[in-house]
């Protein structure tokens, strides 16, 4: 599976590199957009100094962790939710006749390394935040765990979005509301939102396990909604549970696939 992924990703990278100017512009564009996101956070702090009780470095840490997970998931698996285009173009048929997982083929479809720009920028913010926070090693080990769990959670959301499109043609926008929308929500401490939204993001769509709950654990802060501090340690379990649901939905989707007319 990893071998197939690497093979196909490399093939698409070579294909994309055939269009040099576009390749360079896309890479530059990714950095500009990432920079604007950070600018927004700087502007908020230039005016307030704290956000829902969190200082700038803490917000940088929460933002960086979620964005890094999202950017890596988007880079590696983001094209899975564009499956309705493949269905309409008939290219999914071609993927299904190859001795490789259609999910891996979808994930690598039009793979372009330029999306790494957003991950580099997010990683920088996370790094600066962590360096200024001075977190003891007894809690810092959770940082890589939460990033990996976050990647799995976002990858599962992309997969669920893809699976949904076997039922609803053209549901890419609906799927994006949850993936890109989820990443937007996670840019700020969840306590800025209404408690009902935060509960939904904890128990239904487990986005709170990307950076909020494990982030509270790393920062050594109590949960404003009163959940115990070990809730943050459940991130890997939440990620695996969502991944299992996504895998089942994807399988069901493939079995329901209708193909096109010809």
């Amino acid at each position: 599976m990893i071998r197939t992924y690497a093979l196909l990703a490399w093939a698409w990278t070579r294909a994309a590199a055939q269009y040099r100017v576009s390749f360079a512009l896309m890479t530059a564009g990714a950095f500009v957009i990432g920079g604007l996101d950070i600018a927004v956070i700087w502007i908020i702090f230039a005016n307030t100094g704290s956000l829902a009780g969190f200082g700038l470095t803490e917000v940088m840490f929460l933002y960086g962790a979620s964005e890094l997970a999202f950017a890596l998931a988007d880079l590696l698996f983001g094209s899975v939710d564009r499956i309705s285009q493949q269905i309409r173009a008939g290219t999914l048929d071609v993927m299904l006749i190859r001795p490789a997982s259609p999910w891996v083929q979808m994930a690598t479809d039009r793979f372009t390394p330029h999306r790494i720009g957003r991950a580099v920028q997010a990683g920088t913010v996370l790094g600066i935040g962590l360096a200024r926070l001075d977190i003891p090693l007894t809690r810092a080990w959770m940082v890589p765990v939460m990033v990996v769990s976050g990647i799995v959670i976002f990858a599962a959301l992309f997969t669920l979005g893809g699976a949904l499109q076997f039922l609803l043609t053209d549901a890419t926008e609906v799927a994006s509301a949850f993936t890109y929308g989820g990443a937007m929500l996670n840019q700020y401490p969840l306590s800025v939102y209404d408690a009902r939204i935060v509960r939904g993001l904890t128990f239904v769509l487990p986005l709170a396990f990307v950076n909020w709950q494990p982030g509270l654990y790393v920062l050594g802060r109590p949960d404003p909604l009163g959940l115990p501090s070990w809730t943050g340690l459940l991130s890997p379990a939440a990620a695996l549970a969502l991944a299992a649901v996504a895998a089942l939905a994807w399988r069901a989707g493939i079995r329901r696939y209708r193909s096109t007319g010809s």
Binding site: T4, L7, L8, A11, W12, R14, A15, A16, Q18, R88, A89, G90, T91, D93, V94, L96, I97, R98, P99, A100, S101, T169, R255, R256, Y257, R258, S259, T260, G261, S262
Partner: protein, 267 residues
């Protein structure tokens, strides 16, 4: 090599159940060369897609090379080759040689066997002149030869082709036909193709499966098909008669199109 028993597939289009294929039963032995005919929308492509594991049947049983296509899709992919006349399995922006190398790696064909196969195919299909050209710049005839090569690199026991000669000029068509005939007679590869070109049928196939309204309407030799309408001079007229006759009989299921909102193509 191919077994279908009561094979069926329904689609729900705007809450109505449409039978694209129903109760299809046939067998294809190893080494046969079979054409699958039928009017547009008759269920040929749906059948092909169930045989190759793209679509999951809603009823009946199907085995290809001893495997259940939809459950053992990846294992089956290593034993069969599939060519779509209307779309390519190659990578649009990569040179043909790189596409074939990628196919080699995906199918885990070892380098020595790959070299032998490629040399042989270059010889038979005259690929040499355009191996370095990106697939998007190939003519349809060149692309089809590239696609056939890609489908055969892993030396499959069965080759399934969906309208392989569509849009090809007379010379390219003749080359593809000669190649397929040779593949079938010399290597013993089982070949199943769908086509609207009766020249393919007359020149290549010993056996014809005619699918109409999702059912098997005829299964026999080309001569047998001709004998169904003794007055007719050409095979074209015989088939046109059959298609027209079926059009006048009322259709129980309305237009068996897989999905109402898909772009139209030939089914």
């Amino acid at each position: 090599m191919i077994e279908a028993d009561g094979l069926g597939r329904t689609f729900t289009v705007r809450r109505r159940v449409v039978h694209a294929v129903r109760d299809l039963t046939f067998r294809v032995a190893a080494g046969e060369f079979v054409a699958c005919l039928g009017p547009n929308g008759a269920g040929k492509s749906t059948t092909i897609k169930m045989l190759t594991g793209i679509l999951t049947p809603t009823s009946g049983r199907v085995r290809v090379a001893g495997l259940d296509p939809s459950r053992r899709r990846t294992a089956l992919a290593r034993r069969i080759g599939v060519v779509f006349g209307q779309r390519t399995t190659l990578w649009w922006d990569l040179p043909l040689r790189d596409s074939l190398e990628l196919v080699r790696l995906l199918y885990k064909v070892d380098r020595k066997m790959f070299r032998e196969r490629l040399d042989e195919m270059c010889d038979l299909l005259d690929l040499g002149g355009f191996l370095g050209t990106p697939v998007r710049q190939l003519s349809l005839g060149q692309r089809m030869r590239g696609d056939i090569t890609a489908a055969l690199l892993h030396d499959p026991a069965v080759l399934v082709l969906d309208e392989p000669t569509i849009g090809l000029d007379v010379v390219s068509k003749a080359e593809v036909r000669a190649f397929l005939r040779r593949l079938n007679s010399e290597r013993g590869t089982t070949v199943l193709l769908t086509t609207h070109d009766l020249g393919d049928v007359e020149r290549l196939c010993r056996r014809v499966l005619l699918i109409d309204h999702g059912r098997l309407a005829f299964d026999g030799t080309v001569e047998g098909l001709r004998a169904t309408a003794p007055g007719r001079a050409s095979i074209e007229d015989v088939v046109a008669d059959l298609y027209l006759r079926s059009r006048t009989t009322p259709r129980t299921p309305p237009a068996p199109r897989p999905a109402a909102d898909e772009p139209s193509g030939t089914a």
